[in-house]
């Protein structure tokens, strides 16, 4: 018995030994080799999906603060008040330098090129998409940093001990813009001409990128002439003024290619009769939306969702005990024109300085540009069928104000009917986070679906990177700069009539301020405002570190160079004066949230973000940005 066990054991050992060599040569099951990937079209698509996912957005719904900076809103979150108490931004703010991303895009393009197993059609499209993404990132870089080293193939180190051949100097700012425009021109016809493809690159997306990039380059050339200190002698920062017309022409032509329908059936979104609802729907209606050109899409129950609605939903009665963070400022709210197309302050006082009383809480907003209520939740408007409860207090006949310091607080006051509510459930209560401390909440990008405000569900509203109205405004600006005010007025009027403005602009009405103002209201909370301020070289003027006085806030409200250093608010008060006709009406007072103590200052060194010392150390050919 013992002997047979012994023999069995020997046999077992002997058998197991023979298979060892095979064991070492087995194919790995958890990685795919390059040859495997570039045979099946689904696999390169997964790599491409990762590259899409790393697209560089300045503002995005994934980070609510990034969409609402520069005092278009006040941030109603206790941990963020410091943002309104400082003056300067760091020189490194808004910087980006991700050459790892560029290398991976370069590698993808090269490997795709070398592959043999793929269908030619798939291959061309994948390659065009990767080149679109690479151009997009270079556009992002040049907006933030100025000219950067232009690397368009993957580089290998030869381990010789001398890496200096891998060091590249910065290109000029215009060379990077030229690269972006040229790449987009080359790939636009390799991409599908399909207006229903939103989250992948299309001809429309490529053209929209050209129109935006060329517009930026053109205005840097034109307006950079006034700020000669924001430039470098080698033009790594700054574009010669002689190039501006060519860029504006490129921008206008690309925009017109979209407008004329050559890139697919894009148009302004006009599905709903109620114009404010219509405007808000652009940002959440994902079925057959003709306005969105290129978006970052999200999907419920896929893991790719975002919490924009959770962060910003009206706090009272919300699906989660959270919300109300972005409070649009009076500065923005008052700059929506009247439907007759006039820039006038919100009428809260009459000519003799007395408060005007309104029967309805939103009476003061009547007759305004429909985009106001499409962008902002004002007192008296509703979200998800529930009316917001925004009012700051009760004003008695003798002028005393009764208010509370907790949401919806009740108090007894002279003439009250026992305990009565003295402040709205959504505030505004100065210094109490998540209440509407400016008197407003944001509507743009809020998701009206049930569950969007729950942490377990979240929102699948997309983030629109390029949309048709921006293309129209790009075209309007380029045409204006090229002296074609007639064309410009036509494009501006298309955008404005969608917002319900009845008075058409004539070519003579088109001015720089008009265009700047139209972009300010149409594209608010879309992450474009900073770059507008930068390319027009007015950021140091509107953000000059000087506080806004209460007299000044309502003046010159459509001027491009109006000071934007601090956010203001507008608070409704309920009149309590039984027997008087004013009883139960509302008056509005202009306030500055008391947590706002600083005034933003944009320094010359902020126009182009600081390049980190580690980057400068690694590559002595790279020179610093000016004024830092």
């Amino acid at each position: 018995m013992k002997k047979s066990i012994f023999i069995l054991m020997i046999m077992a050992v002997a058998i197991s030994c023979t298979s060892d060599s095979e064991f070492l040569e087995r194919e790995p099951t958890n990685i795919l080799t390059q040859d495997q990937i570039f045979t099946d079209p689904d696999l390169p698509l997964t790599i491409l999906a990762d590259l899409y996912n790393r697209y560089n957005d300045f503002g995005t719904v994934k980070d609510w603060a990034s969409l609402s900076d520069f005092n278009v809103a006040y941030w109603s979150e206790a941990g963020r008040y410091g943002h309104f108490q400082n003056t300067d931004r760091g020189y490194g703010d808004w910087g980006s330098w991700d050459y790892g991303y560029i290398r991976q895009m370069n590698l993808f393009i090269e490997r795709l090129e070398a592959s043999t197993g793929l269908d030619e059609g798939d291959k061309a499209r994948f390659s065009a998409e990767a080149r679109f993404l690479r151009a997009s990132y270079y556009f992002s870089l040049v907006k933030r940093m100025g000219g950067v080293p232009l690397i368009t193939n993957s580089e290998e180190y030869d381990f010789s001990g001398d890496p200096s051949y891998l060091q590249h100097p910065r290109e000029t700012e215009s060379a990077i813009y030229d690269f972006v425009i040229q790449e987009a021109q080359e790939v636009k016809n390799m991409l599908p001409t399909d207006a229903s493809t939103k989250s992948r690159a299309t001809k429309g997306a490529a053209l929209a990128m050209i129109s935006r990039a060329a517009l930026y380059a053109g205005s840097i050339a034109k307006y950079g002439a006034s700020t000669s200190q924001v430039s470098l002698p080698g033009n790594e920062v700054g574009i010669p003024v002689s190039k501006s017309d060519a860029y504006y022409t490129t921008s206008l032509e690309a925009a017109q290619e979209i407008i004329s329908g050559q890139a697919g059936a894009y148009s302004l979104y006009n599905k709903k009769p109620e114009l404010s609802d219509n405007f808000a729907s652009i940002f959440y209606d994902k079925s057959n939306n003709p306005e969105a050109i290129f978006v970052e899409d999200f999907m419920l129950q896929s893991g790719k969702v975002h919490g924009f609605t959770i962060s910003n939903q009206p706090r009272y009665g919300a699906e989660e005990e959270e919300g109300g963070r972005i409070n649009p400022s009076l500065n923005l709210v008052q700059s929506f024109e009247t439907l007759e197309g006039e820039c006038v302050p919100l009428p809260n006082k009459d000519n003799s300085g007395n408060f005007i009383s309104y029967d309805e809480i939103d009476g003061i907003f009547d007759g305004r540009d429909a985009r106001l209520k499409g962008t902002v939740i004002v007192p008296g408007s509703s979200f998800k069928g529930r009316k917001v409860d925004i009012w700051a207090g009760v004003q008695l006949a003798d002028g005393t104000i009764v208010s509370g310091d907790s949401r919806g607080q009740q108090k007894e006051f002279p003439g009250s009917n026992g305990q009565e509510q003295v402040v709205g459930f959504d505030g505004p209560i100065d210094g109490l986070e998540f209440t509407a401390q400016t008197g407003f909440y944001i509507r743009k990008y809020q998701d009206p679906k049930a569950g969007s405000g729950q942490r377990g569900v979240q929102s699948d509203v997309w983030f629109i990177r390029y949309r048709y109205a921006e293309v129209l405004l790009n075209a309007a600006e380029s045409a204006f700069e090229l002296g074609q005010s007639g064309i410009s007025a036509d494009y501006m009027n298309q955008v404005r009539s969608r917002a319900g403005i009845t008075t058409e602009l004539t070519p003579g009405d088109i001015t720089f301020d008009r265009i700047a103002h139209e972009r300010y209201v149409e594209l608010a909370f879309e992450g474009l405002h900073l770059f507008d301020l930068k390319r027009w070289r007015i950021a140091h003027i509107v953000l000059d570190g000087i506080p806004i006085s209460p007299d000044e806030i309502t003046k010159d409200i459509c001027d491009a160079t109006k000071r934007e250093t601090q956010p203001y608010g507008l608070w409704p008060y309920k009149i309590h004066n039984p027997g008087s006709p004013d009883d139960g009406t509302f008056i509005y007072k202009i306030v500055k949230p008391t947590r706002v103590t600083g005034a933003d200052r944009f320094r010359f060194g902020n126009y182009y973000s600081e390049i980190g010392q580690d980057i400068l150390n690694n590559n002595p050919l790279i020179i610093k940005n000016p004024n830092q």
Binding site: Q229, G545, I546
Partner: protein
């Protein structure tokens, strides 16, 4: 009882171990402490250049210790600065666009970089060329109003000359007075048609409870971020 004794014993041995570690881990540092004290003033013809607190900085660079990084030295309101450094040779660089002045040219090889040999206490005045100097500032109080006058001397003329954007009298309740929002409580602009004779006045805000106030004249040169100032004057009323 025995288990309690055991626990105590363990605790004592842990404490004892800690004690041994505490004694043995300390060793005398093998680097000397920074021994040089670098101080001085930014000047033009020995007159200090007055700037806003923390508005202007320059950089010190030192070679020979791996990757270089700048050491920022900030300039005080009266143009003075100081930094505690290691002895050695540094390159001092006034960054372009920082400060209401231009750095002076040293020589072909260095450009405007200044070599500084720091050894022990070193005092160095950095001579620069400002666009303008505020000359002869005068302050007075009449009633509730601070009045001030000054003249501006244009130093840089010709191709690099720059205009004046505004000349302003700033008041603050503390000795830090500048255009920075936190550093003034009131301000009043001067008529800048005649630079040799500026006068300006501003009312003292009602919420000042102390019986003194600090005043200063600041001049914004167009296209230059940092303003040039007069000395700070304490006024008692």
């Amino acid at each position: 009882m025995e288990s309690k004794y055991k626990i105590m014993k363990t605790i004592y041995s842990i404490l004892f171990l800690g004690l041994i570690l505490g004694f043995t881990s300390c060793e005398i540092d093998n680097y000397d402490k920074p021994d040089a004290f670098f101080s001085g003033q930014i000047t033009y013809q020995d007159d200090p250049i007055m700037v806003g607190y923390n508005h202007v900085k320059f950089q010190l660079w030192q070679s020979g210790f791996g990757n270089e990084g700048p050491i920022d030295v900030h300039v005080d309101q009266d143009g003075s600065f100081s930094a505690r450094m290691f002895s050695g040779t540094y390159r001092l660089k006034l960054n372009e666009g920082d400060g209401p002045f231009k750095a002076n040219f040293v020589n072909e090889q260095l450009g405007d970089t200044i070599l500084v040999d720091l050894n022990g206490d070193t005092n160095l005045n950095i001579e620069v060329t400002p666009y303008y100097m505020v000359r002869n500032p005068q302050f007075s109080i009449s009633g509730n109003t601070v009045e001030a006058s000054a003249s501006l001397e244009q130093i840089i003329t010709g191709e690099d000359a720059k205009d004046i954007e505004h000349a302003t009298l700033y008041l603050n309740s503390t000795m830090f007075v500048s255009n920075n929002n936190d550093e003034n409580v009131a301000r009043g602009d001067a008529d800048i048609s005649e630079l040799s004779n500026l006068s300006m006045s501003v009312d003292i805000p009602g919420d000042i409870t102390q019986d003194y106030i600090f005043a200063r004249i600041g001049v914004r040169i167009s296209g230059v971020e940092d303003m040039i100032f007069s000395p700070v004057e304490k006024l008692t009323f």
